[in-house]
Symmetry: C2
Subunit: 120 residues, 2 copies
């Protein structure tokens, strides 16, 4: 997969700042969670997530993630055309990081638990 | 260290969403980078970071991070009183995750590199 352009580094060439520019809003990594851990792939599946992602944010994020090579949009039906979303090798690499975030907050926030079967 | 209250989970009790509610803006993890990886501890050090964090955002984030147990504020001078900021055990655990983010964007974004001596 071709690297993202240098202009992706919005604030500085620091690799951490750049990762946060790409991933660091509250929704992008949740979509990686939905697809990579929960097996959700379609627009309406994402809308059913319990965080109630606003529809306009969802559409914008999905488009941006496809553009950044974090998601692949695939047709699953022709007439009318319908698409679903899949992780790419680039975003598959982020799944362990998403799991680390989960472990961290389950440890540090009361009432937050890893659902059974989601830790491995 | 006492767990954060259940109300910290803003959008749902999902541990990933909760971690992103605590950490998922573009500045919080950069402050963990500044302190944990770059050895910066004072307000003016943070202001000198090349991302030019706006002063009002910096003050708000530092206060919020102290409240969430991510930073400890320590006096380093009495007259006039001056404080610096240190990671806690809770935020020390996030340093490997910050490094993973760095490795990810160094791999995927042109021109973004891990500075020498920052990988270990």
């Amino acid at each position: 997969m071709k690297k993202l352009p240098q202009s992706t580094a919005l604030r500085s060439s620091c690799p951490i700042a750049t990762a946060l520019d790409i991933l660091g809003d509250k929704w992008t990594l949740l979509l990686i969670r939905d697809i990579g851990l929960f097996g959700r792939h379609r627009y309406k599946d994402f809308q059913e997530s319990k965080e109630n992602m606003p529809s306009n944010i969802l559409a914008t994020r999905l488009a941006r993630m496809v553009k950044c090579g974090l998601l692949e949009k695939r047709p699953y039906q022709n007439n009318p055309p319908r698409y679903d979303y899949h992780l790419t090798s680039r975003s598959e690499e982020l799944v362990p990081l998403v799991k680390s975030l989960a472990m961290w907050s389950a440890k540090h926030v009361s009432g937050v638990k890893i659902p059974a079967g989601r830790t491995s």
